[in-house]
């Protein structure tokens, strides 16, 4: 929602900064839930996930997305005035998180491992 507000699509009545302050707690909660359930899922079949190329790609996207969110993205929504690179930041954020989703779905469709051992 914050990203779409930065892009200027929908939610025009609030600035991105206001939306970010409204939703940061839910964002953090969601992230914690995802981390927790993700660890649980991974522990159910660690060998398969460790060797799965799509899982690796997903983790790369995920780490990038989280780091991006708490650095560049946070700076972009910190002030009430819309930042100059707002659209770029929003697009990058959306692409990174969409990459996490695509990577996650592909895990089930990629059967060969990384070719290790």
């Amino acid at each position: 929602m914050v990203d779409f507000s930065l892009l200027g699509i929908g939610m025009r009545r609030q600035t991105p900064a206001q939306l970010a302050t409204d939703t940061w707690l839910w964002t953090l909660g969601g992230l914690v839930l995802m981390l927790f359930s993700g660890l649980l899922l991974f522990s159910s079949d660690p060998d398969m996930y460790y060797l799965n190329r799509a899982f690796l790609i997903k983790m790369v996207f995920f780490v990038s997305a989280v780091i991006f969110h708490y650095t560049v993205h946070r700076k972009a929504v910190s002030s009430d005035t819309p930042p100059s690179n707002g659209k770029l930041v929003a697009c990058a954020s959306l692409v990174l998180w969409a990459g996490v989703i695509f990577g996650g779905i592909s895990i089930g469709f990629v059967n060969q491992g990384l070719g290790l051992s």
Binding site: I9, G10, W26, A98, I101, F102, G104, I105, G108, F109
Partner: protein, 192 residues
């Protein structure tokens, strides 16, 4: 009859190509998930506002009306992806209990939308004017959350059931063969 419709639709050229390609189905599924992130997030926020648990500084009419249009786009994306996937694997989904439950829940959601349209969604400003969020609005939000979460869980479960189509087909074949043999078998008295 529904089964034969499902069998027919999955063998049309379009859906056979969709099913045969190794990357199209995962992409459609991923887009469906992106739609869940998008649409589901908005449903969550709207319901949280109606329950009074989030974004309390914003008026209800603000939240409901601003999310309305993006929610429709998100729903359109999800339904399109859903139809594409269901068409590609129609017969498998016909036997899949999670898929059937999902369809029932979607029907229930349509009922929910009809029931609460006039009181909650059509005029959110009235909810702002009330001294506290009325009970029916909270019930609408809670029901909506419950139904959508169940749909998401059932949707996840669809992939974990693989109906054994070959056995089902073989079973039906066996039953029809046996029935035809029994019907055409010579009667004992005629063969002397």
């Amino acid at each position: 009859m529904l089964l034969s419709f499902a069998q027919w639709i999955q063998f049309t050229d379009f859906f056979t190509a969709l099913r045969g390609s190794w990357f199209v189905y995962p992409i459609v599924l991923s887009l469906h998930m992106v739609g869940i992130a998008f649409f589901g997030g908005m449903v969550l926020m709207t319901d949280m506002r109606l329950l009074g648990w989030s974004m309390r500084k914003r008026s209800i009419s603000d939240v409901v009306e601003q999310f309305r249009v993006p929610k429709r786009y998100g729903l359109l994306l999800m339904v399109t992806c859903g139809v594409l996937m269901a068409g590609a694997k129609a017969e498998e989904y016909y036997y899949n209990v999670f898929f059937r439950t999902k369809l029932i829940l979607l029907a229930l959601l349509a009922v929910h939308a009809l029931v609460f349209r006039r009181s909650v969604y059509a005029d959110p400003a009235a909810l702002d004017r009330a001294p506290a969020i009325p009970g029916y609005a909270k019930r609408a939000a809670a029901l909506s959350l419950l139904l959508w979460t169940s749909i998401a869980c059932c949707g996840r479960g669809i992939g974990y059931i693989e109906p054994p189509l070959e056995k089902i087909h073989a079973g039906l074949h066996f039953v029809t063969e046996a029935a035809l043999t029994a019907l055409n078998a010579p009667r004992g008295l005629e063969h002397r």
